[in-house]
Assembly symmetry: C2
Homo-oligomer: 250 residues x 2
Amino acid sequence: MDTKQILTFDLPDKVLTSLPTGAVKDTVEQLGKSIVQGVYETDAVLPREEELVEKLNVSRTVVREAVKVLCGKGLVRTARRYGSRVCPFESWNLLDPDVIRWHDPNSPRTARIYAEATDMRIIFEPEAAALAAKNASREQRDLIVAAAKGIDPKHGDAAMIGADYTFHATILQASGNLMLSQLQNIVYAVILFSYSAGRFAAPEEKVVQRLHVGVAEAIDNGEADLARKRMHDMLKANQAMAREFAAIAK
Amino acid sequence: MDTKQILTFDLPDKVLTSLPTGAVKDTVEQLGKSIVQGVYETDAVLPREEELVEKLNVSRTVVREAVKVLCGKGLVRTARRYGSRVCPFESWNLLDPDVIRWHDPNSPRTARIYAEATDMRIIFEPEAAALAAKNASREQRDLIVAAAKGIDPKHGDAAMIGADYTFHATILQASGNLMLSQLQNIVYAVILFSYSAGRFAAPEEKVVQRLHVGVAEAIDNGEADLARKRMHDMLKANQAMAREFAAIAK
DNA sequence: TTTTCAATATTTGTCGGACAATTACTGAAT
DNA sequence: ATTCAGTAATTGTCCGACAAATATTGAAAA
């Protein structure tokens, strides 16, 4: 693999939503986002099926199938004569790719989720890095190294985010654990959050790249303990910067 | 709280399934289990909607709503003229409570999932224990201690499983991180798997109880580092025993 | 006035049928 | 053997009707 050629990385066009394109998918997206972003508060009743039919210009069939999908993700609960109500926050499937994605990075309401997601990353990603150092394929090691080098401001924000995500997602995949691998949705959400509204530490971008390359090289060399430590230190530093930024923003 | 009174713990009757009781829920359960347990292999087409209508004795409306829910969990994918096909394993939402629960503990096919779930537990439960030592409320600390003491063979299998689950679930809740808390579904599945078919190490039950009590006391005393270490050692020991058992079974 | 209880209204749940849209499949023509 | 148009099969969407459950209401009773 020619790493010289791989300098930019696209964002995943479809981080996931298994529903096929169509009216149901659009309706799920719209209702899901509205709920997650707080348009309807906890225990609030959604508009009646009939009203949603008018508002969204779809048939009742579509509305019902969409609401059922949201039930399956723990967002709403329905009953006869009771309406469809928003479930309390704790019962949402926060690890569902869609539910994660629907959070609005710019809403102060979701700040808690991102803080907790960051804590999750600090727990899982160091171990994933250690596993990747042991289990990654040749191609995965190359990709991890190339992505780390691609985290460079000179490529623009989009390419930087893409490289950042590719780096972390590939490490999770290379761990060989499917559940661990699925946490890349959390990583993706946190990265988007970090970069949106200029939350990333602009002046220190070179430091960020250097830290990523350090982790990548440890993985590439199969040094599990070193990879674990470097990933941990990097995420901790990142968390500290984010907290500092949040404090200033207030 | 009188810990003397809390000696037995019930299993959670409803570990979760947000769908309300009714034909749709039953259909989701049946189809979901069939897929997860391997009745339909990857890329296999499900019976046509019309056939499912006959087989399950429900209307097409119900079948469609159920299939849509399964789409939302990444299990199936539908298209016109294409049928509803089982998605490849990697795209399943393995962290979804229902998807976890639908795995059959007695199927050799799902052994991999339980092995990976066990690896996951070793990663996040020690950290959860450390967080719980810092953040747990008085009631949670009492409950954790009581549950640990309740892991006693003299109460029978069901009560033992209940205490075991209560112990781990309460620790995750006490961590204060909602995402971490939702991983209790993984713990529940692994515990059921461990106990089913006599996989647990019967002669050493007292050791198991002692180890749990050790973790509980560390949490109760607010000793985060000690709690982390003890939880880690306990899970590692448990994993080693499980592997030994699996090797013998072959 | 408060409580109880039956009647009512409202909302989702389920059913059935019809047609649209997409695409895998078939068979003829090249 | 290949291409291509036609056909058939399957899910997608719409509609209308009624069933089931329950929140609400109002009257009767204490």
